[in-house]
């Protein structure tokens, strides 16, 4: 019993020392928390796929009623804004090339005549494909406006209405998808770095050898190094979570306890990765570079920006080794879908496996990578 208490006291002392080392310098204190806050706010506004502003130009050669009604519907959306009114088709290239318009509507001279004659009237929609995702969204928007116009003039098929409903995100706002994923991504960036630097810093400064000759076992050193990094990771996650919940007011459907259980498991796996990098690196510089080498692919393959389902099969298999993929999945599903433990239990498995491999590996490397 007393041996246990002594062990705990030893680990506690090490944790205290680590936390003091992290917080002693005011500029490092700022660096620990300000980036998460700033990035959560900036990316919350900046990282969006939703169309809010589509500048368009019109080349109306028919000058008829139908054309102006159709264009008025476009203006009525609040998303399309008239950037230019063209008088000849040679101007189309100009407004598109200069980024003045994303969409050009070219209405041919016989537009009204064909409509009144009961024929099909082609409406040419020219899009700037330099960002093809935005262009495709704008195109489908125009398509739905034209469909509703057709319906209003009594044309367009035998009237099938498609009623769309979206679960978990009723207005299909991309911010709802991206922001919860940022909780994992932004906090991982720093927990990895902090844990990767923790041992490498002591190695570079020569104090790690001193630590190894203390009565602490490698496992105790590991716990002492891991807990401060985990605490900082969770604190950063909390900052981002609060920004999402209260600044952006994205409603949370699931349980906070489950969310934090997921974040804790995810952070432990990240810290395990970070400490393994740290134990492998001889200098702080190496630790930072290896961390960065790892984090870029981890972020890209996490489903943060593009869905994992759209990736080739082989890469989908590779992502099983990526804690961020499962951390993101747990956070998104608990936060947005209100998933319960049973729904996300499978996502915990790869995280636990990563932690169970990397943490003992790091402890083993402490002693066996001395050169």
């Amino acid at each position: 019993m007393t041996a246990w208490i002594a062990t705990l006291a030893q680990i506690g002392a090490l944790i205290r020392k680590e936390i003091l080392a992290l917080l002693k310098d005011p500029s490092s204190r700022v660096v620990l928390f300000a980036p998460a806050l700033i990035q959560a706010l900036l990316f919350g506004y900046g990282a969006t796929f939703d169309l809010t502003n589509v500048p368009y130009a019109v080349l109306d050669q028919s000058r008829g009623q139908a054309a102006s009604q159709l264009v008025a519907r476009l203006d009525g959306t609040g998303v399309f804004h008239r950037a230019a009114t063209l008088s000849s088709s040679t101007q189309i290239a100009q407004v598109i090339d200069s980024n003045e318009a994303l969409v050009v509507l070219a209405i041919p001279a016989d537009f009204d005549r064909r409509l009144n004659a009961g024929q099909r009237a082609p409406l040419q929609v020219i899009l700037d494909g330099r960002n093809s995702s935005t262009a495709a969204l704008a195109a489908s928007y125009v398509g739905s406006i034209v469909a509703s116009y057709n319906a209003s003039i009594g044309a367009g098929g035998r009237g099938i209405t498609i009623e769309r409903r979206a679960w978990f995100n009723p207005n299909l706002e991309s911010r709802w998808n991206i922001m919860p994923a940022l909780i994992g991504a932004l906090s991982m960036l720093q927990t990895l770095l902090i844990s990767a630097l923790s041992v490498a810093r002591e190695r570079e400064q020569g104090t790690f050898d001193q630590l190894l000759v203390t009565p602490l076992t490698p496992m105790q050193i590991l716990i002492g190094k891991a807990i401060p990094a985990i605490l900082i990771g969770l604190l950063q996650s909390t900052i981002i979570f609060l920004v999402i919940r209260f600044w952006f007011q994205i409603p949370m459907s699931g349980s906070i306890a489950l969310l934090y259980l997921g974040l804790l498991t995810f952070t432990i796996a990240s810290v395990g990765l970070g400490l393994s990098i740290s134990a492998l690196s001889l200098t702080m510089q190496q630790a930072m570079l290896y961390t960065f080498l790892l984090i870029m692919p981890l972020m890209l393959l996490s489903g943060l920006i593009t869905s994992v389902k759209n990736m080739p099969e082989i890469l989908q298999v590779v992502t099983y080794a990526n804690p961020l993929r499962f951390g993101t999945s747990i956070v998104r599903r608990v936060y947005l879908e209100g998933a319960g433990l049973a729904d996300v239990a499978l996502d915990f498995v790869p995280l636990l496996v990563t932690g169970a491999i990397t943490l003992p590996l790091a402890a083993w490397l402490f002693r066996h990578r001395l050169s």
Partner: protein
């Protein structure tokens, strides 16, 4: 600066411009040899400088895609009539959707909850009866968590059912309609097949050059400040300018190699068209590389601490280049203050230019504008970095 002064006074008259230059080259080459050796010795910075770009090229080219393909959709046919079956038949033919027919709504909902389908299309019992009156309804339920895929799927489903409805009209043809219908003829310029890879791969050049220029440089030079090795160089007869040039020269070369790899990959692996001039692409990319190198140098000179340099470089250069430069997220959709922030970033201007040069061609107003801004950045950063270096030496 002062250390050199007496020597130049003594022989100022005999010195010609060429001997100045040869002295510069001699010292510079000696320093350069040292720096190159230092870069080659540590494999970790080469890994980030050369290996990470290769990994990014492959990931962006093959791995990441916004193009939804074979999205699983549960189809619940409550109306078993041939008309109803025909109506949803269009879903099957495409590459984009993979309909799974299920027997009832509760099963479909269960599949959606477990994530095995991305949406549910429900054709209600009274579909064909109401179709005769012209007010049939189908219900499409989407999983909104992945909102952009959901919007794309909605577009595909609307398209498939719309085409069928239109065909019904054309086939029916017996009673003439009072009015015709507007038909959208869509043309996507610069990227006819709307492949996201075509704009991701040129954008990758921006990311890679930011990575090498700002992130790697600031990290490595901050380390020298931290350890005092840079200051010990400053007390030698070598001029600060020569030291700085020799420090950034290896990264200029690494950046150039990365640029070459990106260009080769975009042409031979991903078949992204280059519609503008290749010479201009290379020149503006090198200009941007110089701007990022200067930015990295400036950051390192200000913070002089590896950990903080890496954080500041990430926050001020790399993450914004990824998230706020118009790389994947179109800036037109962001609030005004984000647009202002993004306009301050050199990456945004280079991003717009490189996409235009690859996909649209030489559009001179865009080229002049972006090159002007990047040059301005280069000048301003040179001035502030010099001032910062001088301050540190005093």
């Amino acid at each position: 600066m002062t250390a050199r002064e007496p020597a130049s006074h003594a022989s100022a008259s005999e010195r010609t411009a060429s001997s100045y230059a040869s002295g510069f080259y001699r010292r510079f080459l000696a320093l350069l040899r040292k720096e190159v050796r230092q870069v080659l010795r540590d494999k970790s910075n080469l890994a980030v400088g050369l290996l990470l770009p290769v990994a990014l090229i492959l990931l962006f080219g093959y791995g990441l895609s916004f193009d939804v393909k074979h999205a699983p959709i549960a189809v619940v046919m409550e109306d078993q009539s041939p008309t109803a079956r025909e109506a949803v038949d269009g879903l099957r033919g495409s590459d984009y959707l993979a309909p799974v027919f299920v027997s009832d709504m509760s099963e479909a909902q269960r599949m959606m909850r477990s994530g095995s389908v991305d949406g549910i299309l429900r054709v209600p019992m009274d579909f064909s009866r109401r179709l005769n009156h012209g007010d049939a309804r189908v219900q499409l339920i989407l999983n909104g968590v992945d909102s952009s895929s959901a919007s794309t799927i909605e577009g595909y489903v609307n398209g498939a059912i719309g085409i069928w409805a239109q065909q019904q009209v054309d086939r029916g043809g017996n009673k003439p309609l009072a009015t015709g219908s507007v038909e959208v003829v869509q043309r996507m310029w610069f990227n006819e097949a709307a492949e996201s890879r075509w704009y991701l791969v040129p954008g990758l050049i921006v990311l890679v050059l930011t990575l090498v220029g700002a992130f790697l440089t600031s990290l490595l030079i901050a380390r020298e400040w931290e350890r005092g090795t840079l200051e010990s160089l400053f007390v030698t007869p070598v001029r600060p300018l020569e030291i700085v040039l020799s420090k950034i020269a290896p990264y200029l070369v690494i950046g150039a190699i990365d640029l070459l790899m990106c260009l080769l990959a975009s042409h031979f692996l991903f078949h992204v068209p280059v519609r503008g001039s290749l010479v201009i692409i290379v020149m503006v990319s090198m200009l941007y590389l110089v701007v990022s190198l200067l930015l990295g140098l400036f950051i390192s000179a200000v913070v002089r601490n590896q950990f903080q340099a890496s954080q500041v470089a990430l926050l001020a250069s790399f993450m914004p280049a990824l998230m706020l430069s118009g790389f994947v997220f179109d800036l037109r959709n962001t609030p005004v203050f984000i647009q202002i922030v993004s306009q301050v970033l050199p990456a945004t201007h280079f991003m717009a230019l490189i996409k235009t040069l690859f996909l649209a061609g030489n559009h001179w107003p865009t080229i002049m504008w972006s090159v002007g801004i990047l040059t301005l950045y280069a000048v301003v950063l040179t001035v502030v970095t010099r001032a910062q270096l001088r301050k540190t030496l005093e």
